[in-house]
Each structure stands twice: as C-alpha cells, then as structure tokens.
C-alpha cells in the first residue's frame, strides 16, 4: 500500500531498520548469519561451580547465549506446603535487563519457568529427597537465540553438580524451520524469521524424551527429520556435558 515507508514517524526503536536489513537474508540459498552449516550447532561451553553459595551451579555459553544456573537444596519445603513423600522441584527462569537488544524485553519468563520444570521433573529421582524442595534458579545473562534449550541443559548440569540424583543428564536442542530449511540451534535473528520450531529435551542414555514442543506447520516427514536431528545433537551435547563433569571431578581430586 502507498505511504508505507515515508509516512513513518521518526522513531528511536531499532526494529524497523532491522526488518529492512535482515528481510532479504533468508532467500533461496542463504548462509546463516554466523556462517555455520544448517546442521551445525554452535560451539558449546560448560563449566560447573560458577556460584560458590549454591549447592551446585553451572555456566553455559553457546555462541552469544550465556546462561548461569544455580541449584539450592534439597532444603526444607515451605511451611505452607502440604506433606509430600516425594521431593519438590521449584524452578525459576529470569532474564537480566541487558540480556536482549531492546532493554528489558526478555519475555516469556513464566512460560520458560514452566517448561524448565517439566523438562527436568521427569529426570530427577524425586523419591530420593522426601519432604524437601530443590530450587533451580536460572538467569539468562545474554539472550541470543535458543535460550530455553541452553537453560535446560545447563540446569541439568547444575543439578548433577549439586549431587541431586537423576536418571540421566538432560540435554535439549531446538531446530527452526526457516524458508524450507531446517536449521539447528538457531540464533536470535533466525528465530525471529522462523516459520516453525521444534524443541526436544531428552535423556540421551535412556533415549527418552522428557519435553517436546512444536510450533508452526509441519508435515510428518519433516517432523521425523527434525526429531532425528535434535536427538543426534542431544546425544553429542550430553557427551560434552559429561566430559565437563568428569573434568570438574578430577580437578577437585587433585
């Protein structure tokens, strides 16, 4: 329609310029903004023991996405809670105000909190700490795409660091569908233009999916492809997490 560009009032919001710059990015044969292959994850970095005050903690860095998770407990449940012969898991995900390009826009806290809870509760042996609560607090220091998968993987590492009994480590990976291509471990720009996304959280050694979300329209073969891609990446991610734990354990022995 006429008068679309010129009539726009002057604005300090960076969004309209982003749109103009990035829109032609995802055409026929595009390259990912950070030069990765479609099926190539960002280099993952994990380190346990990031917070001294917590019973266990972990720091994760996937490209520019940086997350810190601390685990407190098991400690006595709040007095108001009813008696329970299994343990409770309490999760919280928050964003720093500077995590996003536009200040204070780290949205979906509540959704992320609920998703983190569901992703972890199936992996923790809650029977091992009756009447008590384990708190998992995640803070997204910098958000640059695939935040939730990074938070979940990092949280399971923090739980392991805290010595909470689990069936297996939990690894999480997402794929985005951008103009007919499946791209794994999408960054912020790719997530903004995705036609659909699929996130899998799984326990690789047990080959069990604890959490799964799909948005957008998917055909059956595409879902199969996406799931397989995620599961393979989860298995590889779990290996990195495991080696990080082993390293930490051998360091503490010395």
């Amino acid at each position: 329609m006429a008068g679309k560009g010129g009539a726009n009032p002057a604005t300090y919001s960076p969004s309209p310029t982003i749109q103009k710059k990035k829109a032609p990015l995802f055409k026929e044969d595009w390259v990912r903004p950070d030069g990765r292959g479609f099926h190539q994850c960002r280099p993952a970095f994990f380190r346990t023991g990031a917070v001294n005050a917590a019973s266990g903690s972990a720091y994760a860095e996937f490209g520019n996405t940086k997350v810190i998770v601390s685990v407190f407990g098991p400690r006595e449940s709040k007095k108001a809670m009813m008696y329970s012969d299994t343990g409770r898991l309490n999760c919280n995900v928050s964003f720093t105000t500077f995590a996003t390009p536009v200040r204070g826009q780290g949205s979906d806290h509540k959704e992320y909190t609920a998703m983190l809870h569901k992703a972890l509760e199936g992996a923790i042996i809650l029977e091992s700490f009756p009447k008590t609560t384990v708190d998992v607090f995640a803070l997204v220091l910098e958000s640059s795409g695939s935040d939730l998968p990074v938070v979940i993987s990092c949280a399971s590492l923090a739980l392991a660091d805290a010595g909470i009994m689990m069936y297996d480590l939990v690894a999480s990976v997402s794929v985005s569908c951008v103009s007919k291509n499946l791209v794994i471990d999408p960054i912020f720009e790719e997530e903004n233009y995705q036609d659909g996304s699929l996130m899998i959280t799984c326990m690789p050694s047990r080959y069990e999916i604890t959490q799964l979300t799909v948005t957008g329209e998917w055909s059956t073969p595409k879902i199969n492809e996406g799931m397989q891609l995620c599961l393979d990446a989860c298995a590889k991610l779990a290996k990195i997490m495991r080696s990080c734990l082993k390293e930490a354990a051998s360091d503490s022995k010395e």
């Binding site: 609920a114 199936g122 903004n192 036609d195 659909g196 069990e208 999916i209 604890t210 329209e217 059956t220």
Partner: protein, 288 residues
Amino acid sequence: MVGLSLGEQHFIQGGIAQDLRCDGRKRLAYRPISVETGVIPQANGSARVRMGATDVIASVKAELGKPSLLQPNKGKVSIYIDCSSTAEPAFEGRGGDELSAELSTALQRCLLGGKSGAGAGIDLSSLVVIDGKICWDLYIDGLVVFSDGNLLDALGAAIKAALSNTGIPRVHVAAGASSDEKPEIDVSDEEFLQFDTSAVPVIITLTKVGKHYIVDATSEEESQMSSAVSISVNRQRCICGITKRGGAGLDPSIILDMISVAQHVSEQLINKLDSEIASAEAGDDDES
C-alpha cells in the same frame, strides 16, 4: 485433584489396558460433543462447547488497533484462558494461574503458528485494515466453566467454533486518506465479514496411562496419566503444534506413533466439529 482409592486406580488402569474405559468408551473414542454458538451477545463471536461434563466458553472480541512495527502487515491475536474458581475450588485466587498460563501458551502455540506467521490457523494478514496503521486486534478469551478433563481439546474446539461465529465489521476508509497521519475510517455496524476458519486446527490430547494412550481423558483418567501429548492437526493433516505435559519421559518412536494416531483421529473430530458448528450456526439463525 481427584481422590481415588487404590482399587479405583487399578480399575481405571485395567480398563484402559483392555480397551474398555469406565464410561464404556474405547481408547480412541470421544465423549459426546455439543456446540452452541453466539452465547455471548456482547462479543463479536462466541461459543460454548461441552465434551461430556467438561464445559468451556470461548469469546472473540475485535478491536481496532495499531499493528506492531515489526509486522506492519499483520493484525494481532491474543489468547487468554481463565480458569474460574467456580469450576473447581483449587482454582481459587492464584490457584488457577499456572493452569491458565499452560493452557494459554499451548493454544497460542497451536493456533498462531511460527514467529513469521507461517502455518497460523488464523490468517493474520486478513486482519489488516490499512498497512502499518490500523488493524484488528482479536482478543480470544476462554473460560473454563466446569472441568472434567481434556480442557485443551475442548478449548481448542470452542475457539474454532467461536471464530466461525465471529463477524468482523466492515471498515470503510475515507478515500485519499491513506497518506495522512490519521486516516478517517468508518466502522460499519451492519456489514460483517465472516472469518475463514477452515485452516484452524483441532487439538488432540493423547494421554498415556500405563502402556496405552487414550483420547479425551476424564479428570479421573488424567490423574492416572504418566504423560500427555497435545497435538494440533489441521485439515491437511499437517502438525500445527505439539505440547507435552506430564513429567515422565517418552520414547521417540512412541511420540511418532502418537502423531500418526492423532492425524487419524483428527479427521473424525474435524468432521464432527464442523457438522456441530454448522448445525449450531443454523439454529442460531433461526432464532434471530
């Protein structure tokens, strides 16, 4: 929460294992569905759906608003679900918040598609009146009147019915006003545009109890579940969203199996819903 004795729990689980549930249904059979449309005259569209004892109302209100800067050629849709404390005492105060948030995000995921708007059940670009300036904001509100399990499927059906009942007033834009700062518009209160709901998917929740999964679980059956997967499927049998509930892990092959079962079940459910909606709409017209 449902208080069940050990005997009752075994009875439910055993029945599901033998493909004969407590109310005589098979594992993949729905309870009777009834649809009423136009139940809220104040709204642009509304519907009440009952699945067995589960009773939900959805309303659609349209308001004129401004499109977001990032997507100037799209309208906005927000979905909010309210779990009334009249439905269950546990929903009182903040008790229903968690469930409300879970249902709202699941429905948004199923109905609104990806971030780019592809695969959305509701065509957002049809809501634009003037590019970048005026669009319709749709507020979809769901209310849980009584909860007897399978809320998500019922709400999905209610929203589909409410959208097909929705009439959006035709807007006349004064000629030559498009380059002005504020275009003059005239909202007609006689002419209404019908909403195309053929692309709106249905949601099918498969609840896993023991080794088997069932559709349309009652709250008693839900209390026995290990996990549940809600899959939304449209008429083309494409998956429009998946949400998993319940903590227990699932084998990937089971999930793929569930998807194909959901695609199979969806066909019957869509046809059933469409005919219910059509007859409800017809009954509505007779009255007015």
